[in-house]
Symmetry: C2
Subunit: 321 residues, 2 copies
C-alpha cells in the first residue's frame, strides 16, 4: 500500500533522479564530497520496549540508513511531535537514550523542532530524525549492485526488534525474554569496509524484515537471492514468539542488523571482520546470489524443499518503527 | 513552555556549539561550503485553509528557514505521518501543493519516509520537512547582529496566515476573507541580498508573530527594538479578526514574511529592492534598533504612549503551523 501510494501519488509530482532511486537515503554531491541524506519518522508503539525506546530507535535508524550508504553519520536533525499530557520524565528518558547513541559516536544533533498536538490514543510522541553523512570516497553499496556468484551475509540474529516491540504491546511473556537488537551500525560497517574493498550491497532489514531487504536486492539487481533456512541465525525465543503470533521470522524487523552482499571470494574476510566487532558477533553466511529466476528470493527449507520468499502483503502489525 | 522543555530537557543532553545557537536552521561547514540545515514538523489543523494547505506550508516554512540564514534552498526531505482513513485525494492535493512550491524553484525532494498511524481526531496528516541549503559566501544574518542605529523592516502585511487558519478552524466568516500569506521567500531574500550588502539580520515572524521575531533579535543582540504602531502594515480585516478573537496582531503568525534589520543608511535601498519583488510589495520600515532598554521591544502606540512588547505567554491557539 505504501509503495503504491508513493509511486502513484507522491513520486509523479516530485520526480528527480535522486529521489527516483528510492533508496533509504539520498546521495547528493556537494563540491568534492559525496553527501548522504536520509529521513525517518518514528511512530513505534509503545515508546518504551525491552532493549530500547523511540529515542534510541530514531538515532539508530537514521545512523543505520546512512551506514547502509557507506556514509559516516555527521549531523542529525531532531523533530519532536509531542501529545499533550506526555510526562516530561518520559521525554527526558527518550532524549537521554538518543543522546547515549549519538554522543559517543560524535554525531551532532544540529537543529530541531518541537510541536505539541492534542492528546491522542496511546503513544504520546513521534520523532523525525533526518541525517546527513559523508560517504566513503568512491564507495557505492546500492542494492542494484549484487551479481551472480556473490555471497549473502547477515551481521547477526534476526527478528529481535520486531518481536520485542510486539510482545511488549500484546503483553506476552516468554521464558527467555526477547530484547530489541536496536543498535547503531556505523562502527561495524566501517570495520567491514576497511577489511573488504569490494562490498557490493548493504541493506538493513527493518520494515519487511530480511524478506524485504532481500526482495529489494533481487529486484533492483535483476538477480535471484538463494538462502538456506538452516543457515539463518534465529534465536529459539524468536522462533517461539513467531509461532505464537503467527508470524514468519523472515518478515520481522531488525533495527541493529545489516544484510551484506560481497563476492564469494571475500566472504570469509567479511565474516571475520564482522565477527571481530561486538555488534557482528552473530554474523553468518546465509546464501548466495544466482542468475535465475531473476528478481526472486528463494529459500531452501530445512526439510529439503524450496519456497519463494515474498514481501509481507499488508504489514502484519504496524508501528514497529 | 516549549522553550523551558528545550532548555531543561533536551539541550543539556545534546549540547554542541551548533545546536546551542538555537537558530531555526543550523549552519555547518562542509569543506569549503557553508551549509545550512533546518527541520520542521507541520501539524496545522485544518490541513486545508484559505490560501494554502499543509503541503505548501511545509515547503515554504522550510525554504524560509533556510532563506533566513541567507541560504539558497537545495534539498528537502519529506517525512509523512498519515492517519488511517486519510483520503488519498487529500494526500495528492497536499503533495501537489508542495510540488508547486519546490519544482519552480529547483528545490529537490531527495529522500522521504511514510508512516501510517491509527486514526486520530481530526487532522489526518503530519509532515516533517528537513532542508539543506548553501549559504551565501561570507553572509551571516544571525539575530545577534543587530546594532543601535539599524533600521527594522518587514516585507509585507502581518498576521494573515494565523488569522486564515484560525478563522477557518473556528468557522468564522469575514466580509473580506483573509488568505494565508504563506509563500517561499528565497527569491525575495536573494534580491534583497543582491541590492544590500550589509543586511544584519533576517527572521521570519512565524510562531509568536512579529513580537516573537523582534524579541529574539533584541535578546540575542542585547539591543532594544523600537517600533511604531502606525507604521505596521496590518490589513483592516486582520485587525477586525484579531479584535473578534481577542488576539494581538503582533503575536499572530506569518508564513510568507520576513523581518529585515540593516543599517539605517541602507534602509531605502532595502525597501526599494523588496518592493520591486511581488512578495515584498507591502514592505515597510517599522522602527529602529536603539541601545536601551537592552533586550526589550518597545511599541510607540498610535495614541502617543508606549508599551513593552512581550512574547505571547502560553501560545494563544495551537497548531497554526
Amino acid at each position: 500500500m505504501t509503495r503504491r501510494l508513493l509511486s502513484e501519488v507522491v513520486l509523479p509530482l516530485l520526480r528527480n533522479p535522486i529521489l527516483d532511486r528510492l533508496d533509504d537515503a539520498a546521495c547528493v554531491a556537494l563540491d568534492s564530497r559525496d553527501v548522504a541524506i536520509t529521513t525517518d519518522s518514528y511512530v513505534v508503539n509503545p515508546i518504551f520496549f525491552p532493549g530500547g525506546d523511540i529515542g534510541k530507535l530514531a538515532a539508530c535508524g537514521t545512523i543505520n540508513d546512512l551506514a547502509m550508504q557507506a556514509a559516516e553519520p555527521w549531523f542529525l536533525s531532531l523533530g519532536l511531535i509531542l501529545e499533550e499530557g506526555l510526562p516530561v520524565s518520559d521525554l527526558r528518558r527518550v532524549i537521554r537514550s538518543l543522546a547515549e547513541v549519538v554522543n559517543p559516536l560524535g554525531v551532532r544533533v544540529v537543529t530541531g523542532d518541537t510541536k505539541v498536538v492534542e492528546r491522542g490514543k496511546r503513544s504520546g510522541l513521534y520523532i523525525n530524525t533526518t541525517g546527513v553523512g559523508m560517504r566513503r570516497q568512491g564507495m557505492d553499496a546500492h542494492v542494484s549492485r549484487a551479481r551472480p556468484g556473490d555471497a549473502v551475509l547477515v551481521t547477526g540474529s534476526l527478528g529481535e526488534h520486531g518481536i520485542a516491540v510486539m510482545a511488549c504491546r500484546e503483553g506476552l511473556r516468554f521464558d527467555s525474554p526477547v530484547e530489541s537488537d536496536v543498535a547503531p551500525l556505523w562502527g561495524l560497517v566501517s570495520a567491514l569496509l576497511d577489511a573488504v574493498g569490494d562490498v557490493r550491497c548493504l541493506r538493513d532489514p527493518t520494515r519487511g524484515g530480511l524478506a524485504g531487504a532481500l526482495c529489494d536486492i533481487a529486484e533492483a539487481s535483476g538477480t535471484c537471492i538463494r538462502i538456506r533456512e538452516t543457515a539463518l541465525p534465529i534465536r529459539p525465543a524468536v522462533r517461539g514468539a513467531c509461532d505464537m503470533l503467527g508470524l514468519d521470522p523472515l518478515n520481522v524487523a531488525c533495527e541493529g542488523r545489516a544484510v551484506v552482499v560481497c563476492p564469494m571470494a571475500s566472504a570469509d574476510r567479511a565474516l571475520s571482520a564482522l565477527r571481530s566487532h561486538p555488534l557482528g558477533a552473530g554474523a553468518a553466511l546465509i546464501g548466495e546470489v544466482v542468475a535465475e529466476p531473476a528478481g526472486m528470493v528463494v529459500l531452501d527449507t530445512a526439510i529439503g524443499g524450496e519456497r519463494i520468499v515474498t514481501l509481507p502483503a499488508g504489514e502484519e502489525l504496524p508501528r514497529i518503527c
